[in-house]
Symmetry: C2
Subunit: 189 residues, 2 copies
């Protein structure tokens, strides 16, 4: 049900994702929804929480596990991994659930606004710690603040995903890597 | 009707924007919708086209009219203008219609996908011409390609708007300006 919910939310947005079709795809009998969730809002919140748990695992794997790799290389590996994920499907059908829910429902649901805030914060903390490592290793341009840079990377990446969906192409993700990893974050020699 | 349609689309996304409430707010009698538009898709496309026409006027005003100003200063004035616009309302209720429709409907509507592509392209062309002027004046860091940079600025700005909506704060817009105008685009002395 969570899997089908994720697919429906990513494809149609919050308002467009119908509980009926989600239950049908998941093979869950109609009418049993409210045994599991109090409302559509609670359901979307559970989907978001699972989605973010999975993303957290990917971040741990790429950003924190192998400390022998230079921090900025780990960040690059992380973005490369997602570029591959998005390349393997239809880019027009993909999206980030955070950006998607932010656009479609955040303003109307305190539950989801809180959950989104929590998710963005966790993501940002992970980037921040890698960027601090990079700074301590002397690999980050001096004028960049790790906290602000972490937040900006997330913002810019969310936008690249929006554009990917609009254009049905992963070019914006490649552009993101070129402009940030090879540009903004590259230490001037 | 276009005005009310814009408000509804920005606030609820494509699927969440009901034609009924839009007609009611606009004082247009129920049932007359199909005298004006063939479908909701065509209506959203007309709203998008009007929205982009207005944005085009803002771009012309800030980016092209006063050629005595340095190109990058014009770009900054443009972003400052929008920061003021978004500050004057509730950031959680604001959004860019392009990013919004890209998330909620682009994958399901060729009409809107085409219109979105057209709108992003027009926007990008305007940034490109200003960045080329900056390059010709020696004001752009040499490693930056005006075309790629124009596209990246739009991507990153779209993401800042998503985050603004998620967080209910204009901080992401300020971060965007700091990281791009004061960072990426600043010529190293």
């Amino acid at each position: 049900m969570i899997d089908e919910g994720l697919k429906a939310l990513l494809s149609h947005g919050y308002e467009g994702a119908g509980i009926g079709p989600i239950l049908k795809s998941a093979g869950v009998p109609k009418g049993s929804f409210y045994h599991f969730f109090e409302s559509k809002e609670e359901f979307a919140s559970a989907v978001l929480s699972t989605y973010c748990g999975n993303n957290q695992k990917v971040r741990t794997r790429f950003l924190h596990e192998d400390k022998t790799k230079p921090p900025l290389q780990r960040l690059r590996d992380y973005f490369d991994y997602y570029e591959e994920v998005y390349s393997s499907g239809d880019p027009a059908a993909c999206a980030c659930l955070l950006g998607n829910l932010a656009q479609s429902i955040a303003a109307h649901s305190e539950v989801l606004q809180r959950e989104l805030h929590r998710s963005f914060t966790a993501w940002q903390e992970d980037f921040k710690s890698v960027l601090r490592e990079a700074r301590d290793a002397g690999d980050l341009p001096e004028h960049l603040d790790p906290d602000e840079t972490a937040a900006f990377l997330i913002d810019a990446y969310e936008g690249a995903l929006v554009r990917m969906k609009a254009e049905g192409s992963i070019k914006p993700l490649q552009r993101f890597s070129t402009m940030t990893l090879d540009g903004l974050l590259a230490r001037k020699s």
